[in-house]
């Protein structure tokens, strides 16, 4: 197919561009692009919960935070534990997933606004825990000297190296996201998102698929958190405040729910743009807010339509 070929060529070129990019922009922008990338990862994860399963989650930062603290506690001088990252990162993802399922349990019967409020509270609870649980988390003083990723004697510590690490994380996340979306799980989520009662009548086990949505969605947050902790080298409870959840949700709204391209664009606009606007100094956030309002007025459903989730025979 001609168009399929063109599409592949396009994505190939974009990918090549992304690989070469740090060579042109230098350390500072590589770091910013890393930030953008982390938000892309979180955006993909929240997209599972909100975009695919239709569950409005305002506490997504909790999983990011738990991923980061899990990594930091088990790979820093704080407890004198130094687990190698290849073991620890999957563990962080697992912990985030368990927490996702735990959050899912009490909110299974809630829909819409009520769900949003409870998850918002959950996000705050985790942050306050991190802040007040001094003996374990070191409270507001945070965790310092966190191990970077080390592999075969090579240490990832330059912004450019982190950029590639995060890029790899995004590729894995995207691959995973697409696979789930096209699976039977993705189909169940889609039905759930469109109409929960109708989904039940199709024989879809709502409880099971809601828990799956929360825990699979959380896994991306856990991965992002672990990378964040290792990259920053130090983390504090304040890194995981409500505004992160809001920002990630804004990325989805801006880019278009249920779309990966949308998430990428949204992250560039929401995380990258404020940096570009830095020269406007104190007007920067004002200008940024204005841009958001304009986009909401002219593109109320975001820039991209969701990718189709049903792979079916057409006859």
């Amino acid at each position: 197919m001609e168009s399929e070929y063109k599409k592949r060529l396009f994505y190939g070129l974009v990918f090549l561009g992304l690989i070469l990019l740090p060579q042109f922009v230098g350390n500072y922008w590589s770091h910013i692009l890393g930030d953008v990338g982390l938000y892309v990862m979180l955006g993909i994860g929240l997209n599972v919960v909100v975009g695919l399963a239709g569950l409005l989650d305002l506490g997504y930062v909790a999983f990011f935070g738990v991923g980061a603290y899990s990594y930091a506690l088990l790979a820093s001088p704080h407890f004198h534990i130094h687990i190698p990252f290849l073991v620890l990162v999957p563990l962080c993802i697992l912990i985030a997933m368990i927490l996702g399922a735990l959050l899912g349990l009490p909110v299974l019967r809630m829909r819409g606004d009520y769900l949003a409020i409870v998850t918002l509270g959950f996000g705050e609870i985790i942050r306050i825990f991190l802040n007040n649980l001094d003996p374990v988390t070191n409270g507001p003083k945070g965790l310092l000297r966190i191990d970077p990723f080390r592999i075969f004697g090579f240490t990832i510590d330059e912004p450019v190296e982190w950029y590639y690490t995060i890029l790899l994380g995004i590729l894995l996340s995207t691959f995973f996201y697409k696979r789930i979306m096209d699976s039977k799980i993705g189909r169940a989520w889609m039905a759930m998102r469109e109409d929960q009662t109708a989904a039940e009548l199709m024989g879809i086990d709502l409880l099971r698929y809601k828990l799956l949505a929360f825990s699979i969605g959380a896994s991306f947050g856990g991965l992002g958190g672990a990378i964040f902790a290792a990259r920053q080298g130090s983390i504090f409870p304040e890194n995981f405040s409500l505004i992160v959840s809001i920002n990630v949700l804004c990325i989805l709204i801006l880019g278009g729910m249920g779309s990966i391209r949308g998430v990428i664009l949204g992250a560039f606009v929401l995380v990258g743009l404020p940096e570009l606007l830095r020269e406007f100094e104190q007007f920067r956030m004002l200008l940024f807010g204005l841009l958001l309002i304009i986009v909401t007025i002219f593109k109320p459903t975001g820039f991209f339509r969701p990718e189709k989730g049903l792979k079916i025979v057409n006859d």
């Binding site: 039977k184 189909r187 109409d195 009662t197 039940e200 009548l201 199709m202 024989g203």
Partner: protein, 240 residues
């Protein structure tokens, strides 16, 4: 199976926050029978269907399907047991296409080949759906949406089909079409429990009918006989 009964309901009560919607209702459907339940608005017809399909909790009573107790089981297991419901107001997935809707109906099926076969069956019942298979369901007409809702339920290959007000909001000619199709579905071997406000149409196509009034069954019998009764004609058919 020891007898010919497919569904048995004994003393079923359902209430919503203290308000009784159903008071000790008992009924049964024999294998491959077409049974209708008629009654006015708020008589408890929909609650009865929702109780069977597991969408609302039954407070008291028992529901047996093919000899197995399915009282208060979660809806997805009841679908797997072989009962599909076409819900009130159709509840099609309006942003998905006709084809996608039908595939959702086949969610519990393990064999794709069988599901494709069933889809051919649905298309032969409703050729209209085949013509519109790639259309977004929300843009279908009311009648087509009802066809889709029925077709979607059939994709689960139910042994018993629960229909909640399939005539609601449809033009008389479409009502006739839908009811003819219901008869055909039944003739092809699916048990049907039909809930209707359109008492006349329901009595015409069903074997037996239960009349529900403020949560209780007030009359039960062969549809033909009920259709003849003057008191029923006056109360439900608006014929003097």
């Amino acid at each position: 199976m020891k007898d010919m009964t497919q569904l048995t309901i004994e003393g079923l009560s359902i209430s919503y926050g203290g308000i009784k919607a159903l008071r000790s209702v008992s009924l049964e459907i024999k294998r491959d029978e077409l049974v209708s339940i008629i009654g006015a608005n708020g008589a408890g017809k929909s609650s009865l269907l929702k109780g069977i399909s597991g969408l609302v909790r039954c407070e008291r009573g028992k529901i047996l399907f093919q000899g197995k107790d399915i009282t208060n089981r979660p809806p997805h297991l009841i679908v797997k047991a072989g009962i599909s419901q076409v819900p009130e107001g159709r509840r099609i997935f309006s942003r998905l296409t006709v084809l996608e809707n039908l595939w959702m109906g086949a969610y519990t099926r393990s064999s794709k080949e069988e599901a494709i076969e069933d889809m051919e069956g649905v298309f032969s019942l409703f050729p209209r759906l085949k013509e519109r298979k790639d259309q977004v369901a929300g843009t279908l007409s009311g009648g087509e949406q009802q066809m889709l809702a029925i077709g979607r339920a059939l994709m689960g290959r139910p042994r018993l089909l629960l229909l909640d007000e399939p005539s609601m909001g449809l033009a008389p000619i479409l009502v006739e079409h839908i009811f003819t199709t219901i008869k055909r579905i039944h003739a092809e071997g699916t048990g049907i429990l039909l809930v209707e406000q359109n008492a006349f149409a329901a009595l015409e196509i069903s074997h037996r009918t239960y009349i529900l009034q403020t949560g209780s069954i007030v009359m039960e019998g062969k549809s033909k006989e009920i259709l003849e009764r003057d008191d029923v004609r006056r109360a439900y058919l608006d014929i003097r």
